[in-house]
Symmetry: C2
Subunit: 130 residues, 2 copies
DNA sequence: TTTGGTACTTTGTACAACAAGGTAGTATTT
DNA sequence: AAATACTACCTTGTTGTACAAAGTACCAAA
């Protein structure tokens, strides 16, 4: 067994990275965001500001710079459509709604999400609960 | 309400992106991977090949190129340590184990994960179940 | 007409996952 | 003993996503 060559510690950064719950949650939320957006829109059409508010209320913080590109992506995938509506005060609002394709995608995601939850549980316990 | 300038459809890609369950699940798994690795190691020390197998068995597919940098990261954060062990057949194996810091991080992640699950449920239902 | 608020958009950066290829030690076959 | 196969570890370059920050545009009220 010859190890020495391999065992040369590759740069001990060890940057005392915060072991902070918020950071870790932020990591986990990634990838679930799309699902959340569609889930909210399932309950009714909306535009960016109230979307952010609702996500914030659910402790799933996002910012405009995240949401706009994401909505554009989902629109380009045909999951969303939008219409302009006048605002009682301020510039017009871009209301997004789920398309039929979006509804179908959402159903797939419902399934995917519950599978991921089941998978994590499986990995944690190692038991055959699936 | 002047809309025309804004409403110029920005590149209608609409690339018939697979509405495939695997893709969506892959997206959702991101960010949960670190948690899964630590969870597996909590059950006992291991090295890359069996880690990949266990993840694959749980339908959480990853490849070597993903896992090695991830483990290196977690080691540099002080969450993991490793030791070399001879193999009954083949090159030596790098066994990873949770450090004390890793155990603490894992507890934080346990909490974080269940919060994310609760959050998604909250967003889906919109009810006050938290 | 200027100020402030709301809303939408873009640009640049950081980081994570992946694909693909590379290095190295051990065992087996010829 | 040379070649082959297998296992295991590691690196590089690409892509995609979230974010920070700055920018554009419309509207209302002082």
């Amino acid at each position: 067994m010859v190890i020495d060559k391999r065992d040369m510690e590759n740069q001990e950064y060890n940057k005392e990275l915060e072991l902070n719950a918020e950071n870790i949650k932020a990591q986990m939320r990634k990838g679930v965001l799309e699902y959340c957006i569609l889930s909210i829109l399932r309950k009714g059409d909306s535009y960016v500001s109230p979307l952010i508010s609702e996500l914030k209320a659910a402790k799933m913080i996002v910012v405009e710079g995240t949401l706009y590109p994401l909505l554009a992506r989902q629109k380009n995938q045909g999951l969303l459509s939008y219409r302009w509506e006048e605002s009682p005060s301020g510039p017009p609002r871009k209301y997004y709604s789920l398309t039929e394709k979006g509804h179908k995608a959402l159903e797939v995601m419902d399934e995917a999400w519950s599978e991921v939850v089941k998978t994590v549980d499986y990995i944690k316990t190692g038991l055959e609960n699936r």
